[in-house]
């Protein structure tokens, strides 16, 4: 398959690249709309398709934030995180469909099942990890029924609707669905209900082996990874080292605390690995910032050529989409757009030509 790789970026730390080092209870829930809008506009010019809108008690509601940002931008899409269990699937679909009409389809969803029981209880969600995945599957089944635009009944373990319908259709039929997670349950859910599974990276051969069963179901695999790209590998390593310098013991405690409270297998395993093993999983895959910034700080570190080669290796391993973070995002995104993306696109052209 020669379809082009697709690239997305997380909006979660726009305007404050150290956000993830702060105790969640002290994070600002009012991030700068200007910085977010600037990052969205930058993304539009850097070949980024959508911005991930995270969900959690520390930030504004992703669907409403996407509404505001979407109406201020032209082409960028929004990947809105949703946790089943907090909202009726019918009302969620109605909200999402409404937004799709306003943005002419520039939205997709990232179904997450939550990773911290303490936070979920604050939303009134008391289900355990495995039940949350079963519930997410039911939630998506109801949403899909609504997108078919014909009244239907559904009786599940967690949801029951009768003659369910909403009249506002999703612009273009139905949204693309992403699922985040690294557990067996997440793989299962993605196989059944998602277009693409987001997971944390590992060595390309590990990704290839673990992805194969999912790829056979027709669901794609995408990697959530931070980028530290520089003209040379030495510069990239220096940047990586510099990026963790400002952090203190206090920051370490924040994430140790988080890892202990989380029941998400992916977050915990990336974190444990970072704490107990060598910080380099491959010559370019680095976990050195994870103890300070959490699992999503697992990073590809290297020269533009290194990283373009890495992305291509992941492509060979079956990965089709990437969700990036950077610190600061806007500068890393610029380097991606100017340096790495052209290398990938050139290689895709060669590859397509060779295949023809």
């Amino acid at each position: 398959m020669n379809q082009a790789l697709r690239f997305h970026w997380s909006l979660s730390q726009a305007g404050n690249s150290r956000r993830r080092s702060i105790d969640p209870k002290k994070m600002s829930g009012l991030p700068s709309l200007e910085a977010q809008e600037a990052l969205c506009r930058k993304a539009e010019s850097c070949g980024i398709e959508t911005m991930l809108m995270a969900i959690g008690f520390t930030r504004p509601d992703p669907l409403l934030l996407a509404t505001s940002l979407g109406l201020r931008t032209k082409s960028i899409g929004f990947m809105v995180a949703c946790r089943a269990g907090l909202v009726s699937p019918t009302l969620f679909t109605q909200q999402l469909n409404t937004l799709s009409q306003l943005l002419l389809g520039r939205i997709c969803i990232n179904m997450v099942s939550g990773h911290t029981p303490g936070e979920l209880r604050g939303y009134g969600d008391f289900q355990d990890h495995d039940a949350r995945y079963r519930r997410t599957a039911e939630f998506l089944a109801v949403c899909r029924g609504l997108w078919r635009q014909k009244p239907f009944d559904y009786h599940g373990e967690f949801y029951r609707v009768e003659q369910a319908r909403v009249h506002t259709p999703f612009h273009g039929g139905a949204p693309e669905i992403f699922v985040g997670g690294n557990s067996e349950e997440a793989f299962q859910l993605a196989a059944e209900h998602a277009d693409c599974l987001w997971r944390f990276p590992d060595a390309p051969e590990v990704i290839a082996a673990e992805s194969a069963p999912l790829l056979r179901t027709g669901t794609q695999v995408g990697l959530l990874v931070s980028l530290i790209a520089r003209p040379t590998r030495e510069q990239a390593h220096a940047a990586a080292r510099a990026s963790i310098k400002p952090f203190s013991e206090e920051t370490l405690a924040v994430h140790r605390n988080f890892a202990n409270k989380s029941d998400a297998r992916g977050f915990r395993s990336v974190y444990r690995r970072a704490e107990h093993a060598d910080a380099w999983i491959t010559p370019t895959l680095w976990t050195g910032a994870v103890p300070y910034l959490g699992a999503p700080a697992i990073a590809l570190v290297g020269s533009y050529d290194d990283i373009a080669r890495d992305l291509w290796e992941y492509r060979e391993a079956g990965v089709r989409q990437f969700l990036f973070m950077g610190r600061p995002d806007i500068e890393e995104m610029d380097r991606f757009g100017r340096q790495i993306l052209p290398r990938i696109r050139a290689r895709e052209r060669v590859s397509a030509g060779g295949a023809a």
Binding site: F57, L64, L71, L91, Q94, N97, L99, Q163, R165
Partner: protein, 366 residues
């Protein structure tokens, strides 16, 4: 005292015949109509409307999202977003409201409704009966209040809703305060109790002021304001107003109104919907309060009917018994609002200056 005047956001265009064919199922209502709705919002702001009501039901866009899309096109106008508890975690709901406030200068207030159609509730997965829906509303608003009013994490364990350590880092932000104004509607005892305990304003359908006065006295006494949901048919002369009213009803006879009425009333378990239908039998509550449109358009359409002077006086009569909010609608949607704002509202403001500010309080002690 001065009352606040709100209007219902125009949805589904201005085609009267289509609107009459069915209250809810008109496909024209399903899509946002941003250009027309932005114009409607700007006109509302220009003529002195405080907030636009954005309804919730399965046949329309989601009100929270639609309102946020409209907000940037105005500067002062507020949006009264309808919401039904039971469809969303109270924590997530407060997060949405607070996010709205941060993204639109706090210009949101809430119209909390329990829903009135068991069929429609089932679309959303809500199978609770009438009375428990109000009990759940109170639990929902108790949690919301906790999130708005206390800095500490909120614990709550009720019959319908539980949260543990609920907290949000996005606060409600508005020049007017740390929590949104809450309007809560319904004629039942349960609605009144929920409004008294949790709302800033109890909303009712239109009735004769004298009947209304005794019903609202305990609520006013508790410190909760009272508002009315009414339609407006204002014209330069009474004859023109009557003519406009007749045309609204005559046209409806082209369609099958009895079938529609049957569907709406029998499909509802709302106490107020049933009461207002009974009342519509004798069409005139006062010379300027007409219920003839209720059978065709539903209970929110007890209508203020007459000249600008007559309607202003009728409003003052309501204000005299302590009504301080009016949520209005009319036909044609935009033209009626503009005419009201330009012709009726200035007259109301002049008459308000002569009102005895102590009067509503005396009534409430009677």
């Amino acid at each position: 005292m001065t009352a606040s005047f709100h209007w219902r956001l125009a949805e589904g265009g201005e085609n009267l015949q289509r609107a009459m064919r069915g209250l809810r199922d008109d496909p024209a209502k399903a899509l946002p109509d941003l250009a027309a709705q932005i114009h409607f919002c700007r006109e509302a702001e220009r003529v002195g409307i405080d907030a636009l009501l954005v309804d919730i039901n399965y046949a329309k866009p989601a009100p929270m999202v639609l309102a946020l899309a409209l907000a940037p096109h105005t500067r002062r106008l507020r949006f009264m977003v309808a919401h039904r508890p039971g469809l969303m975690s109270p924590t997530l709901f407060v997060q949405q409201v607070n996010s709205f406030s941060a993204l639109a200068e706090g210009r949101i207030c809430l119209n909390m409704v329990v829903g009135h159609s068991p069929d429609e509730q089932a679309y959303y997965g809500d199978f609770l009966e009438h009375d428990p829906r109000y009990a759940r509303m109170e639990e929902f608003l108790e949690i919301c209040r906790g999130l708005w009013e206390t800095a500490e994490p909120v614990d709550y364990s009720g019959r319908y809703l539980q949260v543990e350590g609920a907290r949000l880092n996005t606060p409600f932000t508005s020049p007017k305060g740390r929590k949104p104004q809450i309007f809560l509607g319904g004629n039942s005892k349960q609605a009144q109790q929920a409004a008294t305990a949790y709302a800033d304003c109890w909303l009712r359908f239109g009735e004769h002021p004298q009947r209304l006065a005794s019903a609202i006295a305990p609520v006013l006494k508790s410190g909760t304001a009272v508002g009315l949901r009414l339609a407006v048919i204002a014209r330069p002369t009474r004859a023109e107003a009557l003519d406009a009213a007749a045309r609204l009803v005559d046209l409806s006879r082209v369609g099958d109104k009895s079938e529609h009425e049957h569907l709406f009333v029998n499909g509802s378990d709302s106490v107020s919907v049933q009461q207002v239908y009974k009342m519509a039998a004798d069409e005139w509550l006062t010379p300027n309060l007409w219920t003839g449109a209720v059978r065709t358009y539903g209970p929110p359409n007890v209508a203020l009917l007459g000249t600008p002077d007559e309607i202003a006086q009728q409003i003052i009569d309501f204000e005299s018994i302590g009504i301080s909010h009016f949520i209005l609608s009319g036909w044609p949607k935009l033209a009626e609002m503009v005419y009201f704002g330009e012709e009726v509202l200035p007259r109301v403001r002049r008459l308000e200056k002569k009102l005895d500010p102590a009067f509503p309080r005396e009534i409430s002690h009677a």
